[in-house]
Each structure stands twice: as C-alpha cells, then as structure tokens.
C-alpha cells in the first residue's frame, strides 16, 4: 500500500474540467515530482489532495484510507501539509505566529517546541527574524517560512507547489537542497515544479502532466533522458 494514492481523479471548476483522470502514487520516503506546463493542472492536483477541492470522480487515499469525507482542515490532522503556490504566508502575522499556526493541529507543547527547533535549525534565518511581520520578509525568506510552517505540523506527506517560483538561481539551489534535507529527515514529498531540470535532479520519480492528464511517468533519471521531456520541459533540442 502506498502512502499517498491518487486514483483517476476528475476535478472541475464549475463546468470547466481541469483534471481528466489523474492517477499517481507516492511511496513512503520518496520525493515524487509532478511537472507540466502552465495550466496543466498541477496546482489543481495538489488542491484536490489537500481537500480544498473535491474531485467529481476518483479517490485520494492516504495509507489506504479514502479522504473523500474529510474537509481540508481535517486532512491536516491526517498528516498532509501543503506549501501553497505563491507561499501564502500570513502577511500581517509575525514569523513566529505563522509558525505557531503551522502547528495548529498539534496540541503537545513538547512536540511543537521540537518542531520549532528543527525548523530553526533548517532555516536559521527564520530564527533571526521571528518577531518580524511576515509581509516584510524577502521572497526567499517567505518561501522558507511557508516551508517551515508546513513542517511545524509534523506531516508525513509534504505537498509543495512551485517552491522555486520567483527566486534567484542561488536561492533555488538552496531551496532544492533543503527539500532533499527534509526528505532525508523522513518526510515524504510531492513536489510540483515548472523548473523540471531541478525537480528531476532531486526527485526519485516523476509524473508529467499535460492538460489535466498524466502523459508520462518514470524514474527521475529516465525522465531526464526522455526525448519528449527534454524537448518540452528541459528546453533541449
């Protein structure tokens, strides 16, 4: 049984169909990446997994349990955390308050403090800035905060939506290093990226999404060598 299993989901916005039968699996301990062009449905897939959207057809299963009957906020308690597209930090809350909200689903004070230590070790910058209002952080710092905030929930699966978006190349490197680090610490990751080169560099496996459908799936290494992937997503001829 996979940790996370998405079975043939069809998700709509009103009458507009965004996903046409997406299936994917994430095994415990993996980094799996979902790549695809603008508008392919990557964000929609993550939002369906986290319960913000409900599929009209198909299932999302966590350790075999169908999540259909759970609301988004309940799915967090099941161990799924998300770093949303565009980071979504609470701009008027301080860094510390943002992190506290990340741990909203936890009640054990010791666990919360442990997670905080872990986040501060991962992102010493956040520790320095903990009293600062999040809206005044730089883009890179906001990405760290959004990631740290998600980790505060002690997730078993972390969903990340384009963490490299809008960041300088140096920072992109840092973020991808961190993703690997987080994964080594035992967090399973489903990573949505447009930066296919970097994503396939850190992931174990990958799926390629095109207009709401999975068109390819393989190990990251094989996808990197795949001619269609190279042409369409890696910018090689």
């Amino acid at each position: 049984m996979s940790l996370l299993e998405v079975e043939n989901i069809h998700t709509y916005y009103g009458n507009i169909q965004a996903l046409r039968g997406v299936s994917l699996k994430v095994e415990k301990g993996e980094i799996v990446t979902l790549i695809g062009a603008n508008g392919a449905g990557k964000t929609t897939t993550l939002r369906t997994i986290s319960g913000l959207l409900k599929p009209r057809e198909g299932h999302v299963k966590l350790e075999g349990e169908d999540l259909a009957s759970y609301m988004a906020h309940e799915i967090v308690y099941k161990g799924v955390a998300m770093v949303p597209e565009g980071r979504g930090v609470f701009a008027r809350l301080t860094v510390m308050e943002n992190l506290e909200m990340g741990a909203f689903s936890l009640s054990n004070k010791e666990q919360i403090n442990r997670n905080l230590e872990r986040v501060f070790t991962l992102f010493p910058r956040l520790k320095e800035r903990r009293a600062q209002v999040a809206g005044t952080l730089s883009g890179g710092e906001q990405q760290m905060l959004a990631t740290g905030r998600a980790l505060m929930a002690s997730p078993s699966v972390l969903l990340m939506d384009e963490p490299s978006m809008g960041l300088a190349p140096v920072l992109v490197e840092v973020i991808f290093d961190t993703i690997q680090q987080i994964n080594r610490e035992g967090v399973t990751i489903l990573l949505v990226e447009q930066n296919a080169l970097m994503a396939l560099g850190v992931a174990h496996r990958g799926y390629v999404l095109q207009t709401g459908e999975i068109v390819l799936s393989d190990s990251a290494e094989k996808l990197r060598k795949d001619p269609t992937v190279q042409k369409a997503y890696l910018g090689m001829e």
Partner: protein
Amino acid sequence: MIRNWIQRITLTDVIVWGVGILILTGVVWGSIVTLGIGKYSTATWIDLTISGLALGGVYALIALGYTLVYGILRMINFAHSEVFMSGPFTATFAAQALIAIGWWNRYPWLSLLIVMAVAAAVSSSIAILLERVAYRPLRGAPRLVPLITAIGASFFLQYTFRGLYGSGLKAYPEMEIFKGVWMLGSVRIFKTQAAAIVGAIVMMLILYGIVQYTKLGKAMRSVSEDKEVAALMGINVDRVITSTFALGGASAGVAGILYLLLFPVANFFMGFFPGLKAFTAAVLGGIGNVPGAFLGAMVLGLLESIGPNLFLDGLGVPAAGQLKDAIAFTILVFILIFRPSGILGERLTQTKA
C-alpha cells in the same frame, strides 16, 4: 503631472471639498466664539469630557463586533445593533428577578456580573444564530446580498423582541453602589460613568488579549488574511467565524449593560442609534482594526459629547444638544468620502473580496 491632476478634478470633488472646508471652518469658528465668550466653566468641560469617554467606551465595545466580523468576512453586519439590543433588553428581566430575591443591592457586584453574563450570553447566541441562519448560506454571494439580508435580519430581530417583551420601555433598576458621584480632587465623576469607563477598558483589554495572544485569536487573524491557507493549517474556518460572531456578540452584550448604567431604559429599538454610532466609530478608526475601533469610538464619544457645546453653540445653533446624533452621521459621511480607510485601517471601498 500637475496638469493631469487638475484635469482629474471633477465638479463633485470641488463641491465635496467645498462643503468639507465650510464645515471645518464652522467648527473652528464656533469653537473660537464659544471659548472666547467663556460661556462654560472648566468644570462643565470636564463633565462633558468624562461623559464623552463613558459613551466612547460603550461604542468601542459595540464597534469591536463590527470590526471583527468585517475583518474576517469583509462584510458589515448591520444587524449588530440588534445583537447589542437583545442582550441588555433580556438582562432587564434578570435584574428584576435579582431585585425580587433581594440580591440586587445586597450583592451588587455579583448581581452586576450576573446581568452582564446574561446579556453577553444572549447577545452572543443571537450573533451566532444570525451567522448560521442569515449569513453562512450566502457566503460567496455578491457582497450586496448579505448586506440586504442583514437589514432584513435587523428588522426581524427588532420585531421578534418587541413581540417577546412588548413595545414599552423597560426600566433598568439603579444600584445603590452606583448612586451619586465620586470626587477625584476637584473633578466630579458620576459613579455610573466611572463604571462604564472602567468596564469598557477592562473588556477591551480582555478582547485585545484574546485576538492578539490566544490560539483562537491568531487563528482569527489567519482566517481574516486567507481562509484557504488557514484551512491548510488545520484551522476549522467555520468554527473560527462562529467564534468571531460569538466574541463580538458577547462584547456588545457587556456594552449593553454599561449603556444601561448610563441610560437606564431598554426597549426593542434601543440598538439603532448606538449601533449606527459604533459603526461610525469602527469606520472612523479603520474597520477591521481592533485598536482602531477603540480609538474611533473614543473620538466619536468625545465629539458627540463636547461638540454641541463647543462649536454648535458658538455658531448660535439653537438646541445644540439635540444635534449630537447629527455630528456622528456627518462624521460618517465625511470619512467615507475623504478617508475610507479611517484613522488606522484598510480601505473600506476597495478591499480584496
């Protein structure tokens, strides 16, 4: 640059600014005349200031309900004046019962706590019910829709309470401990006013503490920024919204008792003016902003209390005291025109949906 700016000025702008400047001149002129002829003694001014602060405190607690709900739903709960009315109106019966069993003056503090609890509980329940029945089904509807519903709900509540308790005035009994005045040096202060000021400040600090430092308060602020991301934190958004209405309702209920200390009669219509003024105060301070609500309410309370004597009198306006309500509404109109963001807050007219 300047040419552009001049071209953008319309006739309406000119008229609006003209009227604004006229009113401001009137206020300044009237104040100078009044102060110049020395018609009122210092003691009178102090009296007016104190009653302005007491009034402001009451408005602040009501304004908080508008501001909290607006912060979270970007919606003006125009039925909040009835949330305010329901609690204290009901509490007058509790007060009668306490008199009947002889507690009212034997255990005055306990009795006061009981009527406040009754008022807070009723107002809070009405607020929760209002959200469930009238607003929740309309979430996601265009912004005008819940506004109209709010006005409907407001009438519904007024006439429900009229049906329940009758259309007459219900007296709120005086307490022995609040009779008379205290002297602070040479300053005379009515005990009821002192109680209203202290009560409002204490309640305000409690509410501010809740919003700023508790898990619920932080969740409220998160929901107010982004409901989806809040849900991704594990926050039950609907429950936070319910809690917000409950908190605003409780605050209005307590405000109602303080209001009855100052003006000891209740009826089904008692919410209208204080409600509208508290709304003005919330907008004045910057709607969605808790300290702003407090600030706006104090400014409004003071203006309303001192204003008639200070500038209307000086302008030779007859029966100036009866025009105090007009001051509040003039202010409302002018902040909406000149500074919709209020003193501290975000813009009322163009906020994110």
